[in-house]
Amino acid sequence: MFKKILIANRGEIALRVIRACKELGIKTVAIHSEADAQSLHVTAADEHVCVGPAEDALSYRNIPNVLSAAEITGADAIHPGYGFLAENAHFAEVCESVGVTFIGPTSENIAAVGDKAKARDIMARRGVPVLPGSPGELRNETEALEAARKIGFPVIIKASAGGGGRGMRVVNKEDEVVRAFQAAQSEAKATFGNEAVYLERYFLEPRHIEVQILADVRGRAVFLGERDCSIQRRYQKLVEETPSPAVDDSLRREMGRVAVEAIKAVHYRNAGTVEFLLDKDQHFYFMEVNARIQVEHPITEMVTGIDLIKEQIRIANGLPLAFRQQDIRLSGHSFECRINAECPDKFTPCPGLVTRYHPPGGFGVRVDSAMAAQALVVPHYDSLIAKLITHGQNREEAIARMRRALDEFVIEGIKTTIPLHKRIFSDAEFQKGRVSTGFLERLLADHSG
């Protein structure tokens, strides 16, 4: 087993990985920027190395400094967390070449699923149901028009190298295609440095359902239930739950089977998530594979009892999965609220000094956070400051626990999304489980209207 792991990340996910390492008896090295010198993840680790100034390109994404930090501390593995270098195929490859184990998929896996248009292609040929779309990249306006006519409107034009809602354009009619194609291309070029776009059928209010998978070195793979991440604002997730109210047992088994099929198509190893769209008629379509551990992984841990970070470490160490598909049992219901340091009206980041911080507790409540009282929320990184997770024997209990926990949560000095979460959880449609990806925008529009 690894003797020492360097965590190439910060904040709550760095702390999450450090916790798993401590439980496994593995020494930890935290890296940090100058802005994070007093951060909780730094004090929690056995050793720490400053890797650069505040800007993440010069620190957390500074590959030479990160690898040098591993070298001088003698770390034999690196966990990249999510974001930063987690899906950087080049970084994974460089780790491999200097003999430091990258805890995650292989660099080939990352490259294979990172190109979203190509990934769709691979899946389609494997028989995985894929969202009706262009066979690959759209090279010009003519191809875009042809593809749109074939698939049927409405369609959405998306960046191949993209994510996070950027480089996307919805097209309702044929005469909008050309301009939308050009706009999507230039936004993709500006945001991701790559103007390649593809096209898919657009569903008005689908559900975003993703399936957690684990695969070991022997090629054995399992799925660990699904997560419903339909509550999003501008493609940024805010609330996630498992199981999905829209997925019954047989659909779950089918989606899980297809997810495993999808990752096997690229010989995937370690933890990953297969994203699907679910339409109103219970048809599901492959969207993409996320080759990393995800922010919302805790809700899967709550219902399965399986520590996903420890599984990542074990798999990276070459150990086979200790359980088979039939050993995995889903129990109860779990929600996660992403508590962001954001101003409630415009959702702009709201950095500042946290003067009081008191997280909730009690049975069925879990908080993953590196925040503390008198800690500074700095503007350089994402605005996530805490994940509030609840578990209950059923959906009603998990909701009641979340409402109770949101009331208890004290964060003063900055603005957060806690008031918004309270509104979501008291919403009648939400409580009935009638949620799709348009839900949150409507809720916000209702309130301001």
């Binding site: 100058e34 190395v49 400053c50 890797v51 030479p64 400094n65 930090a69």
Partner: protein, 194 residues
């Protein structure tokens, strides 16, 4: 070597003369800034010249003499053709610190001093190789662009250069030990008084 024209030396200090032979080349006679009044080499202008001549005659790349905590080193600078003559105060056990040397217990006292910090993560080395002399010692005068040390990262030797002229006040990192981004390496007086 003729007898030095300096006051008699206390018994406890001894001259140490070390010499390093060279292959080919020669020395011209340029030296600078050595005759600090009241110091052990106060009237040493002629002595310095004699040392340079000695090094020349014997084809030496380096010649060093240490007396009463002051060390003079004459080194042949292959590119410029002129010898580099450096003077530094040497701290030896049992010797009192010379009064001119500032006692720094914290960087806050050192107003006007500049701290050179590591721009990368790696291992700090004071010399180019284990048997080479350190690039700089405390008390050395350095010029802008002069190599102060090496920080090795992933088998690449990164030379850290002085950003401006100055005098090394204190060496803040330990050779062969790891350093992180921003770690203090040297304290430099950018306006050394003569």
């Amino acid at each position: 070597m003729s007898k030095p024209r300096v006051p008699p030396r206390p018994r406890k200090s001894r001259d140490r003369l070390t010499a390093v032979p060279t292959v080919g080349g020669g020395l011209s006679s340029r030296h600078e800034g050595l005759n600090a009044p009241g110091g052990p080499f106060a009237d040493a202008g002629q002595e310095i010249q004699e040392l340079i001549d000695l090094a020349k005659r014997n084809n030496l790349a380096e010649l060093e003499i240490e007396r009463e905590g002051v060390r003079i080193r004459i080194r042949r600078d292959a590119t410029a053709g002129t010898p580099l003559v450096s003077v530094r105060e040497v701290m030896t056990a049992g010797q009192d610190a010379p009064k001119e040397k500032p006692a720094l217990s914290s960087p806050a006292e050192a107003t006007g001093y500049v701290t050179v910090t590591s721009p990368i993560v790696g291992t700090f080395y004071r010399s180019a190789s284990p048997d080479a002399d350190p690039y700089v010692e405390e008390g050395d005068f350095v010029k802008q662009g002069q190599v102060l040390c090496i920080v090795e990262a992933m088998k690449l030797m990164n030379e850290i250069e002085a950003e401006a002229d100055g005098r090394i006040i204190k060496i803040l990192a330990e050779s062969t030990k790891p350093v992180e981004y921003g770690q203090p390496l040297f304290m430099i007086d950018p306006q050394p008084a003569f």
